[in-house]
């Protein structure tokens, strides 16, 4: 039973990646995708290798990372509704991006970099506000701090947009809605190297996440260093989420729904949950990106819009079937 599920999941990943490579403004049959992947002389090689492969892999990696962030935060805050953007960093990232655009920062990396700096500034502020008694990170205060810092950054962002006469400010909003249009091998390499450490740290502490999900005192009694673990989870999820916002804008829903859905279908222990959430989150975002590229071809819908449009009905269905 368990083996069949693992095989099923691996097949699902392969199908999703193949769909990601095949679909797009120029649809390619699977044979052409295969040919393009392995034969640099084939006609489809440039599309498959240079455009779609990095895009699909980046979407997979970002989706998996957001899923794991959501799962870890849900355990830490002991709330299945927690998601990475609760920490206020989406508005921080938005503010950074809007400032970069309003000040007409030139380089192609300026907007993602400014978004990353904005997100991390919000993270640091939320973290500092949430430290109780100087060193303990209180999850309830963390949530509230995330909300107020997010609201403050959101207000500043609106002010900058109203006052700025830069023509590209509308693009800041579009950019924030998410997309993988600018994916490249270099962006994929940067994100992979950067994400490896926080992902590894979260996976390593999977068992401890099971304990912290029980509450502070039970976790203490069972041998977890709760305060250290909470700091680690916060820092790792913040780093991963800020990087994903900087890479592809704000893509909501993956971090909220994927861990929740996987918990319903599979067992909720984090040692098996986190790898499955990574794979399912990756597939979900690859498929959402496929839809965003194909549904209004040759235009692209923001992928954040697609994740919500697909994810909400799917999730509602799953929830109803589970509770029935």
């Amino acid at each position: 039973m368990r083996g069949a599920r693992v095989i099923g999941l691996v097949l699902f990943v392969v199908v999703c990646l193949a769909a990601g490579l095949s679909a797009g403004a120029v649809p390619l049959p699977l044979s052409a995708v295969w040919e393009g992947l392995w034969n640099s002389g084939s006609g489809a090689s440039a599309i498959v290798r240079d455009l779609r492969a990095p895009r699909v892999l980046l979407a997979f990696l970002v989706g998996g990372s957001l899923g794991i962030c959501g799962a870890a935060l849900q355990a830490m805050i002991r709330n299945p509704l927690a998601e990475p953007y609760l920490l206020g960093l989406s508005s921080g990232a938005g503010l950074g991006a809007v400032i970069a655009i309003a000040t007409r920062a030139g380089s192609a990396w300026a907007v993602p970099l400014a978004a990353f700096v904005g997100a991390m500034s919000a993270v640091v502020l939320v973290y500092r506000l949430s430290l109780v008694s100087g060193r303990r990170l209180d999850p309830h205060v963390l949530l509230l701090s995330g909300v107020v810092v997010g609201a403050f950054a959101g207000a500043l962002m609106s002010a900058v947009m109203v006052l700025s006469d830069a023509p590209g400010v509308r693009n800041a909003f579009l950019w924030l809605l998410g997309g993988f249009g600018t994916a490249s091998w270099r962006a994929l390499a940067v994100f992979s190297v950067y994400a490896a450490l926080p992902l590894a740290v979260l996976m390593y502490h999977a068992r401890a996440l099971d304990l912290i999900a029980l509450g502070d005192e039970p976790a203490h009694h069972l041998g977890a260093d709760v305060h250290r673990l909470r700091r680690l989870v916060y820092i790792c999820t913040a780093l991963l989420t800020a990087a994903s916002v900087a890479t592809c804008g704000i893509i909501g829903f993956v971090g909220l729904v994927v861990p929740h859905a996987v918990r319903i279908v599979y067992r909720p222990l984090h040692r098996s949950l986190l790898p499955i959430v990574f794979l399912v989150g990756g597939c979900f975002l690859v498929l959402a990106d496929v839809v965003s590229r194909t549904v209004v071809r040759p235009l692209e819908l923001p992928v954040g819009v697609v994740t919500a449009l697909i994810g909400v009905p799917l999730f509602a269905l799953l929830l109803r079937r589970t509770l029935a």
Binding site: R207, G215, R267, R271
Partner: protein
């Protein structure tokens, strides 16, 4: 001595009165100590201090002869198992998965359970008589079953001391008795037991020694018959009580209604 507090003093706030005032207590193997006292008397504070979860203003807490602050949480959890007052599960684990969490401090770096861990879980489930519940989701359990699961999880830690904070709160008579019988059995097989309870009568029947706290101080300590007396309890709980003796010799408390005769009775209640 597995758990020991020496003149432990705790203050939550610089301007607040002492939460614990020079409290000493000891728990050793095969001994069940009950901590009783009115609400706010410092019972839970004492337990939290014994577990190193609260800083002491003065005094010492030793676990197995070593200052509690010198223990890592991981090492401490292999010596002391705790069943807290309340615990609400957020995610839907099975009973066996929940009890396996008790093995956290015994697992290797990768956190993969080995045969020895599975055996420890099975043994804990059997000792608590809940092996047949192993595959049940925890949200389908009754209050009594859930308490047993948490005791089993603490046993899976293979501790030398078991600490229980109001283990029978909100349980009916049968589940109360079953749980105290289980605790007594575990203590008789060599564990050190410390139980906080509001049930004076159960404490008197099952514990070897009772520690009576009031406003953070020890009012009386010793064998049940020395602590459960009419005058002491009436004063500490600020309510008249009568104390009778059950057939096994344990003192039993009957709270009096206003106007009832306030006298000690040794009537045979069988």
């Amino acid at each position: 001595m597995i758990l020991e507090a020496r003149s432990a003093t705790v203050r939550y706030d610089a301007h607040a009165p002492l939460a614990l005032d020079q409290v000493s207590c000891q728990v050793t193997s095969s001994e069940l100590v009950a901590v009783v006292g009115p609400n706010g008397s410092g019972k839970t504070t004492l337990v939290r201090a014994l577990l190193g979860l609260l800083p002491l203003e003065s005094g010492t807490v030793l676990v197995d002869g070593l200052a509690v602050s010198a223990w890592s949480r991981r090492a401490l959890s292999r010596v002391v198992g705790v069943v807290g007052q309340q615990e609400e599960a957020v995610f839907r684990l099975t009973v066996a998965e929940t009890v396996m969490l008790g093995r956290y401090a015994h697992l290797g770096a990768l956190g993969v359970p080995r045969e020895v861990d599975r055996e420890a879980v099975k043994s804990a489930l059997m000792r608590c008589d809940i092996l047949m519940l192993a595959n049940r989701p925890i949200d389908s359990l009754s209050g009594g079953e859930w308490k047993r699961v948490r005791v089993a999880r603490a046993l899976a830690q293979e501790p030398r001391a078991l600490v229980l904070d109001e283990p029978t709160a909100s349980l009916d008579i049968r589940h109360e008795m079953e749980l105290f019988e289980l605790i007594r059995q575990l203590v008789d097989t060599g564990l050190a037991g410390l139980v906080i309870t509001h049930h004076l009568n159960l404490a008197a029947r099952f514990a070897d020694r009772i520690l009576l706290l009031d406003r953070g101080s020890v009012v009386a300590a010793g064998e049940p018959r020395a602590v459960i007396t009419r005058n002491t309890l009436s004063r500490v709980f600020d309510w008249p009580v009568a104390v009778t003796t059950w057939s096994d010799g344990s003192p039993q408390v009957v709270p009096l209604r206003p106007g009832e005769k306030n006298q000690n009775t040794t009537d045979d209640l069988v």
